[in-house]
Amino acid sequence: MCLRNNLITLVYGMVADPQLSLDLPSDTPFSPLVETYSQIRLKREDNRLFLVLPIQRELEQELSWTQLWQELKHYLQGREKSWATGDSVSLIAQDQLLDVQQLQTIAEILEEVDLVLETVVTTRRQTAVAAATGGYCVEQNKLSQLSLTPDVRTQEATLAEPLYFNQTVRSGVELRHEGTIIIFGDINPGGMAISAGDIFVWGRLRGMAHAGAKGNRQSRIVTLQMDFTQLRIADSVARYPKFLPKSAEPEIAFISEEGISLAKAMDFAKTHEFSELKAVWLDRQ
């Protein structure tokens, strides 16, 4: 059998305590590893292209402008181009405070990938004024009216369409997506991919990957070569066993009864099935 179950250590209850106390929490009903995160995303709805910024008030820390535009650049440049040259984009700025120059910078970043900023949708008056000054169409909405800010809780079950990322995830880059992620490249040490669905790495996985980040234990991580620093699926964490030799074959990581396990990717679909009852993958034999 080529299964390599049991070989990976499972660490429970790795919790970032906001009180910075050294005491270990005795019970953790909800692991913060399973996070509901906000992030930048590009989506198409009714033939309109929307660039959605995270909602400031839902973020734990304030998202600085430098961080925002760096993430925006990474996100747009790594993305498979799924639009025509010159397509217009509506920016859903949510409650982000943006001035004329910052909107201009966003327009420039979009221009680099052949997109044109046309409309700015915001809940902030100042941002609306800035957008109007900059010559963009403005839609100012009350918080409740934003069609593209669905309540996270009601949206949990549905995944976004897969993200196709066309370059290597280098150290320091954190790729987050509310659906399956497909990476054509490596994840280098220090790089991270976090997905609400599955993660496919068409290259070497040497950094960190977190599949099912919203709690879906059925999520899997597939790569041509497993050499990760850490794997996470839903609320489980595994690190690479020190003495396990690297396999030359593509492997898949999934949650089995023993925790996160590895198997030959080739046969997985035939040999394993997901048990809804136990919320783990079981060997058919």
């Binding site: 650049k73 280098r170 150290s171 320091g172 490596d186 280098n188 220090g190 790089g191």
Partner: protein, 265 residues
Amino acid sequence: MSRIIVVTSGKGGVGKTTVTSNLGAALAKVNRKVALLDADFGLRNLDLLLGLEERVVYTALDVLAGDCRLAQALVKDKRLNGLVLLPAAQNRNKEAVSPDDMKKIATALAKGYDYIIVDCPAGIELGFRNAISAAKEALIVTTPEIAAVRDADRVIGLLEAEGIHKISLIVNRVKPKMVEDNKMMSVDDVLELLAVPLIGVIPDDERVIVATNKGEPLVIGDHDCLPANSFMNIAKRLEGEKVPFIDLMSENDNILSRLRRIFGG
């Protein structure tokens, strides 16, 4: 068309300034006009390595403040024709200049020089953003250590996000003996991870340190040695010449190590 190249690494102490000074001198030796731009405000070293410290009168900040003209601030290297240095200010810090300021200076220098080589400070904060603001290409310096390679990877990611896609790699301080014994990452290991083209490999050598302390780039002084040749080769490769890489392994090549290589030791 002049080329603006930033020499950067992320991690400190891997040899950015040494590479900048030697590369500048090497390019001047092949009759290019080279301006070296020290972007490490507050911690300037490039003038020391070039041995030009006592001749610094004005700095880049004086130029920006309008206290002197750009040509006045440039320190000419008397040993080599065509090599000049624009020193950074030592009494101020990185916040004293902005990316736009650096762009202004580099563009002005580009009118009179074939190469503008910017010596980037360590880190990825404002100093880094200043240094890369004007650059069209980048040379990444790393040593075969995991920390240096990790930081280099991060920096390559940032450069790509900034639209600088012409990136080449210099692996500094390689110890062939240690690589042979499997105690050090090989150049191939580094390349495999970073996935950018290699432009130079520099062996670890005491003479580099001696030259640094003398304030005389190796390619000017003790130029008939392996590290100096490595720097000259990088200059030639920048010029578009195809120069084969020196086989560092051959130095400790003997029957035993060859056998070990054959039998996968």
